[in-house]
């Protein structure tokens, strides 16, 4: 891929490039003579220096989510954080006869759904809430689903396919009198939306470095330290990370996550406002094309626009949009092809889900790129719609939604 032919990157929800500042912060911890110490080696300076770097990063992570630093547990990413939170909390409760019911939703990331599915096979009961057509779970729905034996509620903050934000602060309020703990997957929202773990009263929260300009392969689960929330660990070993996640800490990765969190917090207000403006420009530009449906409304993350183009086939549009690096809605967050479970849960027909694209913007997206992307979509539709029997029906006045019922 040469620079001139490189497609415009509009897939920041899949992953973000490493910020140059993050790379600079990481490098010293990968050098031959310094920075290689094991943070558990408290008997010498190499180890103590590494441990100090890890603790510094821990505070940077905690600051981004307004939480106590001693709750941060480093993991390999949000997938592991989700698994540790869900399997860990429910297995711990089940082993002590405290309950076996879990409430989550149909639009969660597959890391959450996969962990819930595993628990089902271990004897847990899982209630997956159905979102409304805009993708939102209502607090009352969670209230109605709660039982005396509910031990965990897991609801994501920003959805990775649509950007729909859930009101996790209200969820935490609802759960305050209930023994169930609240887990929030904040992989998409951390660094893009304000998160106040302490004020809101969240018990477990997952984040991932590579969604916020940090390196791949590192993330964190914040685990409420007071009163101490106990989890059954996923692995056993040397007791690092208070036993929640043993294993020698990858110092350079952790330093990278910490620096990424610091940068994100420093720019949060400005960058979030800038992205909201760009997102509105993108959304407005696409909407003006007419034959398009945008998914999700109300409170939205600033970086995602999910749009369906009902008149044309997704694969044809995909080939035509080769100049844009996008995610297709049909194969969004996983390697598995097939219609997206998120769009299905929002009531979208499968054929329409396959003409759905996720545009996600970030730090290096410019207004010009957004305009170019909209123009590219306009050109593609202009070329493909005259070939489509559906476009003719749409122009004759048939509603977009009806076209995919044939």
């Amino acid at each position: 891929m040469s620079a001139e032919t490189a497609p415009i990157y509009l897939d920041y929800a899949a992953t973000t490039p490493l910020a140059p500042e993050v790379l600079e912060a990481m490098l010293p911890w990968m050098r031959h003579q310094v920075g290689f110490g094991n943070p558990s080696s408290s008997g010498h300076a190499y180890g103590r220096e590494a441990a100090a770097a890890v603790e510094h990063a821990r505070r940077q992570v905690a600051a981004l989510i307004a939480a106590d630093a001693d709750g941060v547990v480093f993991t390999s990413g949000a997938t592991e954080a989700d698994n540790l939170a869900i399997l860990g909390a429910v297995r711990f409760a089940m082993a002590r006869g405290r309950g076996r019911h879990v409430v989550s939703s149909r639009t969660e990331h597959s890391a959450v759904l996969g962990a819930c599915e595993r628990l089902r096979r271990e004897g847990a009961e899982i209630t997956l809430l159905q979102p409304d057509r805009s993708g939102r779970i209502h607090v009352e729905q969670v209230g109605e689903a709660l039982r005396d034996d509910t031990v965990l509620v897991s609801i994501m903050h920003a959805n990775n396919e649509t950007g729909v934000l859930q009101d996790v602060a209200a969820l935490a309020r609802l759960l305050r009198p209930h023994p169930a703990v609240l887990h929030v997957d904040a992989a998409q929202s951390a660094g893009r939306c304000p998160i106040r773990v302490r004020d809101w009263g969240i018990d477990l929260l997952s984040i991932s470095a590579h969604k916020l300009y940090g390196p791949k392969g590192i993330g964190a689960l914040w685990v409420r330290p007071r009163p101490r929330l106990r989890l059954e660990p996923l692995q056993y070993g040397g007791g690092q990370e208070r036993g929640y996640r043993p294993g020698t800490l990858p110092v350079h990765q952790i330093v990278g996550l910490g620096e990424a969190c610091r940068l994100a917090l420093q720019d949060l207000t400005r960058e979030s406002a800038r992205l909201h403006t760009l997102r509105a420009r993108l959304r407005g530009g696409l909407e003006a094309l007419g034959s398009v449906r945008i998914h999700g409304d109300g409170d939205m993350a600033p970086h995602i626009v999910s749009a369906s183009f009902p008149c044309v086939h997704g694969e044809a549009l995909s080939l035509e949009l080769g100049g844009l690096a996008l995610s297709a809605g049909s194969a969004c967050s996983s390697a598995r092809p097939g219609p997206s479970h998120v769009l299905r849960a929002m009531g979208l027909p499968d054929s329409l889900a396959s003409s759905t694209f996720r545009f996600s913007i970030g730090r290096w997206t410019s207004a010009e790129q957004v305009d170019e992307a909209v123009a590219a979509v306009a050109n593609a539709l202009e070329r493909l719609q005259p070939l489509s029997p559906l476009a003719a029906r749409w122009r004759d006045g048939e509603p977009l939604d009806a076209l995919h019922e044939y």
């Binding site: 086939h313 044809a316 996008l326 054929s351």
Partner: protein, 137 residues
């Protein structure tokens, strides 16, 4: 990257027809016997409409198609329209999905889809040969 990869999964013939499709649209009203054939559903991912106009000499005077489908499906419609336009009905009756697969070097995953193109062509031919749905204007 994305483009190169997508392009590699389609043959040059498919890409050429996809980029410059021939005979797309609907036939204008007018003289001759016009037959329209439709096949497939949006839900299954392929829907095709083929229209033929047969002249007094039994040749296909004009062809038009519309399709909701992947690039291979669109290319198959374009190739077929070009292949049959101006040809005698007898010759066109023999054109089918295996010709499309061969001419466009279609990958196995695309073979099922062009059967829908063949079905739409057959339906259009039935309409002009048997007449019930064909109309003389």
């Amino acid at each position: 990257m994305s483009n190169e990869q997508a392009e590699r999964s389609f043959s040059p013939a498919v890409l050429a027809h996809f980029r410059r499709p021939l005979h797309a649209g609907v036939l204008p009203g007018g003289g001759g016997l016009v037959g329209t054939g439709r096949a497939g559903t949006v839900k299954s991912g392929v829907m095709v409409q083929v229209q033929l106009r047969v002249g007094a000499d039994g040749h296909i005077d004009d062809v038009a198609w519309l399709a909701y489908g992947c690039p291979a499906t669109l290319a198959a419609c374009s190739w077929t329209a070009e292949r049959i336009c101006g040809k005698p009905l007898q010759e066109v009756l023999a054109v089918g999905a295996s010709d499309m697969v061969h001419a466009l070097e279609l990958a196995p995953v695309h073979r099922g889809r062009v059967l829908v193109v063949e079905d739409a062509l057959r339906a259009a031919l039935d309409a002009v040969v048997d007449g019930p749905n064909g109309k003389t204007e």
